[in-house]
Amino acid sequence: MRANETIAAISTPFGAGAIGIVRMTGPRALDICHRLFRPAGGGDLADAPSHTLHYGHIVDPATGESVDEVLVAVMRAPATYTREDIAEINCHGGPVAQRKILSLLLDEGAVLASPGEFTRRAFVNGRIDLVQAESVAQVVSARTEAGLRVAMAQLEGSLSREIAAVRRSLLGVLASLEAGIDFADEDIDDVDRDDAGKRLQEQAGRLRELIDSAFVGRVLSEGVRTAIVGKPNVGKSSLLNALLMRERAIVTEMPGTTRDTIEEIINIEGVPLRLIDTAGLRNSEDAAERAGIDRSRRAIREADLVLCLFDGSEREDDHDRALINTVPAERTIFVVNKSDLFRGRRPSFNLGLLPAEPVLVSALTRQGLSELKGLIAGRVLGGEIPAPASPVVTHERHKRLLEEALAAVERTLQGLRVGLGDEILAEEVRAAIVSLGEITGEEVVEDLLDTIFRQFCIGK
């Protein structure tokens, strides 16, 4: 236990537009915050009374520049969730700003909170006892759920409104099926299957849109998962460094939320790229890399965007050809490096092998880099990522539940096509509603009965 330490974390995994919270708790929480916070109205955060809000800016002490416009909530022990001092920094900037603020807090001496640590502290301070090791898992899920509720509120209701609308429509279909089943001896028409099919198609479409939006959501909150692949010595790490240097990008090392790897974020013209398998990149010339293609394969699978790199000064070989066949062309930008070595001449590498026009760059001389950046930004923002005006799914768990709901709706539609019985169709529609209810926290039965009694005149 790190009971005396002050811990900090980003507690809302949200993207641009939504307000994010960077939270800190522990004996030095207010002190650390005070060092970085420039209150708009003057005054001293360290003396602020408990449960007050303060408007101002978080300032980077190294440059003296404002990082973000923020609201800081000061809560003093013991009347807090953790029973310790808490500072909550509500930021406006997107994930990049949140990460920057977090990294400043860490620079000032806070420690990155491990998953569930806030709740664990709350627990420990409430009961004094040590937490048993096996309990941690539950605390983690508790934290996730608590985060979820905040998340719902943060979405300014648009996502939950959309989900509620889909759910309502599905409930209508379920009510017609169930009314026909449970009130068999009453004057109720059998469900109109064509109409039910139409309504289900519509909802499937809405669910698909929501699921698609998860990509935008994730990009906004986590960055575009990017893999740089290529055989050894083509210059992967030089390209990485070139991109980093040129941008003077905000680079934070932060533990991944799902995997415990260190990942790096580069900001390319406002588009956050999260590089995956950076360890592989860093050690690219060492023995481990000889595993070559195999290792890249995994990175490629996980990536939203692949930068596929070749050495233009050398003739292609079998490795290059294998790689070309491995990468998914629609998610890949082909980059031919070392243009300084063949400047003005035709590269030795046969560009005709590539399924798409490559960008020629020199990581060394930085030639072609701005073209590459433009292409990356264009790829990600142009067309591939819709504007986030509509509701956006930013949480992996929500996405999974939406996918389950969609799968159930699709099974219902399939069931309608082959003429399955009402009780089986009801089973599937219900499964979809249950999945949506797990996002919004609603139960089926009471809502269903309400809908039935509203829609149908039941009564012996």
């Binding site: 539950q138 605390v139 508790a142 089943i181 449970d182 068999a184 089986i424 139960e443 009694f453 005149c457």
Partner: protein, 629 residues
């Protein structure tokens, strides 16, 4: 009245109330081996049906079937007393098919009374319970209204609509448990004094008319099934003349009359308080809520074979009698109908069921069990289902045995009781199949496979009856095994059959099982086309079960996987004395909700409305911390 030798020291179990809940409770306790007294206001009114003359229906029928599987009486007694039998939802899948019987009410009462009288350890006593005797938070017996006391080791209260019952017709209000019967008001006060929290509900019944005064030519005849099935697995097949019901509809004229007199309806005058069931609205309510409907169905059901009373299902009302007559007579076929008994509403106290354990024992008063309408339910089937569980647990308590409960994935009875004790009620509770999340598992056809082994263990099903279930099960197993291996050849007969039911032809041999998993393909015709001699070797019930099991197998597997996933939560027990209020990590609201219901397991806690997954995580954390390692 001959009481057993032990009566000077009282009985093991005293059941108060000879309604549907009370009869099952008393029979179960006595059959398990406890000296049991059934105390009820009038021995002339055993298992009386104060409302419709029918048992079963969708959801309710499954309950009756489960009661039978547990060794209860409602199913058998319905088979003895029916005058019409009908399988409902035959156009839909077998999971939602259910039996409904029209019964002869008097016959039903007489038959039940005969069964009670024949039960060796069961004693009947006419009397009026005025209170419970409690010593050190444990039940010690009941007091009668004459002051006498009957000691008991466990008491089941099954008082139906009698607690502070008030009947309402038009402007009239008078104390009564049912029409013509006194209410039980002292018992209500007594329960309140012991800290039992009561609520108030209301229910109503339509007028009965004289069969000679209606014109059935203007109605649709609704006959029974040509080859009626039985509720009880153990009933021998009987042939019996079935009596038809009739269907007519109200029309604009009927609605006009109602609208004209709405100002006299208790709904409008406010003379009736207490919440009524949404699924049983009065005709007044239907006309108000659905003004666009130009007609509402009226089912006309005979109340018995030795009476001319007809029950007008759909015309429930407590308007003044003279208005009831106008309403009835405005309806086609009923123009000259004579009312024999007017409709009325009854208002009554019930005990908030969140005060109960899943055994139906009152949490804070050991050995006091509540069953039936007193728990805020409505319906004969719901009452009987609770009766048998309360009776079993009262008996097991006396015998020093573990409590007996059913899970939601085992039985509708499990769903019913879990809903009651976990969610409470805000209107009279009726069973619907949509309340069950594992509906495809909880079927009419497999009730005995699900529950009879338990009943045999508990001592409610004797060896001979149990043997029948075992034989059925093993025959089913054989048939399923056979269908899994029997290869159906692509003969013209087989392909003709497959195509005739909209399925694609086969070009190579396929197992029968595989074909039966296809929608619309049925066992008997397939076996015939394929030349399998299954019909000769397996009885229809077994063939039907096999077909159902195969049809639903994919869904059943999914439901089982879901049950498996949740079983961990169901198995984490929360100690009796667990102090929810002391967990500061929970929100105040959640602490309140949990303290009220005091769930027995984490699974139950997770179903309390308003309790979030986060609350459940925190709770499990505490429980695991407390557990010894």
């Amino acid at each position: 009245m001959i009481l057993p030798a032990s009566s000077s020291h009282g009985f093991d179990v005293v059941v108060v109330g000879g309604g549907h809940a009370g009869c099952e409770a008393a029979l179960a306790a006595a059959r398990i081996g406890c000296d049991t007294l059934l105390l009820t206001m009038s021995l002339e009114k055993i298992a009386l049906m104060p409302c419709n003359p029918a048992v079963g229906g969708v959801g309710k029928g499954q309950l009756t079937r489960e009661i039978d599987a547990l060794g209860g009486e409602q199913g058998r007694n319905t088979d003895r007393s029916y005058i019409q039998m009908k399988m409902l939802n035959t156009g839909k899948g077998p999971a939602v098919q259910a039996l409904r019987a029209q019964t002869s009410k008097k016959l039903y009462e007489d038959n039940m009374k005969r069964v009670l009288a024949a039960e060796p350890r069961l004693y009947l006593l006419e009397g009026n319970a005025a209170g419970i005797d409690v010593s050190r938070e444990t039940i010690a017996g009941v007091f009668l209204d004459d002051g006498s006391r009957i000691p008991a080791r466990a008491v089941v209260l099954a008082c139906g609509t009698f607690l502070r019952g008030v009947i309402v017709i038009g402007e009239q209000r008078f104390p009564a448990g049912r029409m013509g019967e006194p209410p039980s008001s002292r018992l209500s006060e007594n329960l309140e004094r012991w800290g039992i929290e009561l609520g108030r509900f209301q229910s109503a019944t339509p007028p009965r008319v004289d069969a000679r005064s209606i014109d059935t030519d203007k109605m649709t005849v609704d006959p029974g099934d040509p080859s009626p099935q039985h509720f009880s697995f153990f009933s021998a097949a009987t042939r019996r003349k079935q009596v038809p019901c009739y269907l007519t509809y109200t029309n604009e004229k009927t609605h006009e009359v109602i609208r004209e007199h709405l100002h006299l309806s208790p709904i409008r005058t406010g003379s009736v308080s207490g919440k009524g069931p949404r699924y049983c609205p009065s005709i007044d309510r239907k006309v108000i809520n659905f003004p666009d409907r130009d007609r509402h169905p009226v089912f006309i059901e005979p109340e018995g074979i030795r009476t001319r009373e007809l029950y007008l299902q759909g015309l429930t009302t407590s308007l003044p009698v003279w208005v009831q007559e106008k309403v009835v007579r405005a309806t086609p076929g009923l123009e000259s109908a004579r009312i024999m008994r007017p409709g009325y509403a009854v208002e009554y106290d019930f005990a908030l069921p969140s005060q109960l354990r899943p055994t139906l024992e009152v949490r804070d008063l050991s050995c006091l069990f509540l069953a039936g309408q007193i728990n805020g339910t409505s319906g004969y089937e719901e009452a009987a289902a609770q009766g048998i569980i309360a009776g079993i647990n009262a008996a097991r308590h006396c015998l020093g045995q573990e409590p007996f409960t059913l899970r939601r994935d085992q039985a509708y009875i499990g769903v019913l009781i879990d809903d009651l004790v976990t969610k409470g009620v805000d209107e009279p509770y009726r069973m619907f199949t949509s309340r069950a999340e594992y509906r495809l598992l909880l079927r009419h056809d497999n009730a005995h496979s699900r529950l009879s082994p338990l009943a045999h263990q508990v001592g409610l099903l004797d060896d001979a009856d149990y043997e029948k279930v075992v034989r059925h099960e093993s025959s089913l197993k054989d048939l399923l095994a056979e269908l899994g291996t029997a290869r159906v050849q692509p003969s013209p007969a087989v392909n003709d059959y497959l195509e005739s039911c909209g399925s694609s032809a086969i070009s190579s041999a396929v197992t029968a099982e595989k074909l039966l998993r296809r929608p619309h393909v049925s066992l008997d015709p397939l076996a015939r086309a394929a030349g399998l001699d299954i019909e000769e070797r397996f009885v229809p019930d077994v063939r039907r079960r096999a077909e159902i099991e195969l049809k639903y197998s994919g869904y059943i597997e999914r439901q089982r996987a879901d049950i498996e996933r949740r079983s961990r939560m169901e198995s984490i027990v929360i100690p009796e004395d667990f102090d929810f209020g002391a967990i500061s990590a929970l929100s105040i609201e959640s602490r309140d909700r949990l303290s009220r219901v005091r769930p027995a397991t984490i699974g139950q806690a997770s179903r309390i409305s308003g309790v979030t997954p986060a609350d459940i995580s925190i709770l499990s954390l505490y429980l695991e911390r407390k557990a010894p390692h």
